[in-house]
Amino acid sequence: MSKPLYTLAEPMRKPAERGSKIVHAFGALADLGAEVANRGNFQDTIRTSLHLLLGSLGIMRGGVGRYSLYDGEVVFAAVRGLGDEFPLSISLTRDDERLMLECGTAALEVLDARDLPVLSRFGWIFEAKGIEIIVPLVVRDELLGMLVVGEKATGEVYANHDKDIICAMGRHIGVAISQRNLLTELERKADETRKLYEDMRATYNDTVRAFAAAIDSKDKYTEGHSTRVGKYTEIIARELGWPDDEIEGASVAGYLHDVGKLTVERKIINAPYKIDAKESKELNRHPAVGYEILLPIHHPYADVPLAAKYHHERLDGRGYPDGLYDREIPYIAKIVNLADSFDAMTTDRPYKRRRPVNEVIEDLQHNSGSQFAPEITSALLRGILRETTGETKDKRFRRLLGREYMETENLSPLIAHALDNIGATQSIVLTA
């Protein structure tokens, strides 16, 4: 190599050199600390860390490997100047791990560390690549990886203070790997918990649907009623713009709204005639009984028992069991009330046939503000209109009500007209 053309004044350079080296190394250490604290991309952190390590002492080549206890492999996350032949993965034996843990984060000179089994297998490539020092990365008695470093650009041998700097930086890099491992473990556990939660939710929803089927099995004429009310409730909640988890809760409230009927005599539920006052009193107990059944259960959604208790209340206070007015009625109960009434109007009953859809629309419009909350009625009608106009490809109402029923002539204009009228209705605040 030719003599440098640029030279510094000798008296200026020599006395300052040692101090400058320390200042430069401390700068690199501070930058490394900041890099480790910055929880950005892990690969970038490791690459930057290796640059800082090599640049702090002017080291020509090196690498940072991450150790996996599970497969006993050190996988190099960053290498510089080691060429394509250098293996990116090195397997360690239990003896390697034990010996490295005994050393802690200390600089091991390759020439003096021949008792490490890994060097009997990879020593030749370490030698060929000029690797002089290995530093195990140990944090809290756990081997997390290793640093390998080659020769200094000055050609000097490593002084003890150089090794101290390398080890100090190695501890920082070890902390970065430790943080990453902890984060990965946290993510894995969070993922497991999420899956467990999903399984539990699926089990809960299956149980809810099974209950709905059990409730419906008591009434041979209204088979599928609870299931349909669950679905209508879900549609209305979605039209109202509720978030997904609340829509799911609303749907559950719909499925279980009639759970109290399990305690009502079958002959009353299935009576093929208009029931008398005594039987009516018995039947009308079902909301309160449903509430009692559902209250002790820890539902993921708070309003499920309230929906069961108040789904026969009306805005004008003429409902039961408590004759509540408008704002006294829980919102979910107003939705279930509409879904329940809509299903009653659109399905055959023991003593009457279902009503034509145009009559149902007119009825909803007529009773909006007295029995039904206007914005909830509008939400249901919007859902139907989206389907009749083809705005949505979803055929939910068609599946629930039948194709013929939904293809009634001029249904879309009728719904649009009803929506206009309901939209003009002022929300009446009714109180006792």
Binding site: L5, L8, R13, H24, T48, L50, L54, M60, A153
Partner: protein, 121 residues
């Protein structure tokens, strides 16, 4: 022929020479490449300077001139990147020259041994 290449982190200027291969087909190679280090050597994005140098060397440059006239400070990341350039040049037998280096940076290069491998002019 001389031309400028804009490539984000640095600007390279290369001169070309025509050499003759044993098959007598003339091959044009760039013999001198100039790469401006810019002010990018203090972070990971500085690796683009190294990539550019490696490309010029791979294209056949035998004289690589790194211009530091727009570089105020070089930190440890920059030193590591430059060591990578030196290593690549050495493997290919290319000669590296650093130019426009300020006094503080020159001291650093000398202290860390870079001047054992490059010329400072």
């Amino acid at each position: 022929m001389i031309h400028d290449l804009e490539f984000g982190a640095a600007v390279a200027v290369a001169s070309e020479a025509t050499i003759f291969s044993p098959t007598s087909t003339p091959v044009r190679v760039r013999t001198v490449a100039v790469v401006h280090a810019g002010d990018y050597l203090n972070k990971l994005s500085g690796e683009s300077v190294e990539r550019e140098c490696r490309e010029r060397i791979a294209e056949g440059a035998r004289e690589l001139i790194l211009n530091f006239s727009r570089t105020e400070i070089v930190n440890s990341i920059g030193v590591s990147i430059l060591l990578g350039v030196i290593d690549a040049a050495r493997s290919s037998g290319a000669h590296v020259v650093f130019t426009g280096v300020n006094e503080g940076t020159a001291e650093l290069f000398e202290m860390l041994g870079l001047t054992n491998h490059v010329e400072l002019v």
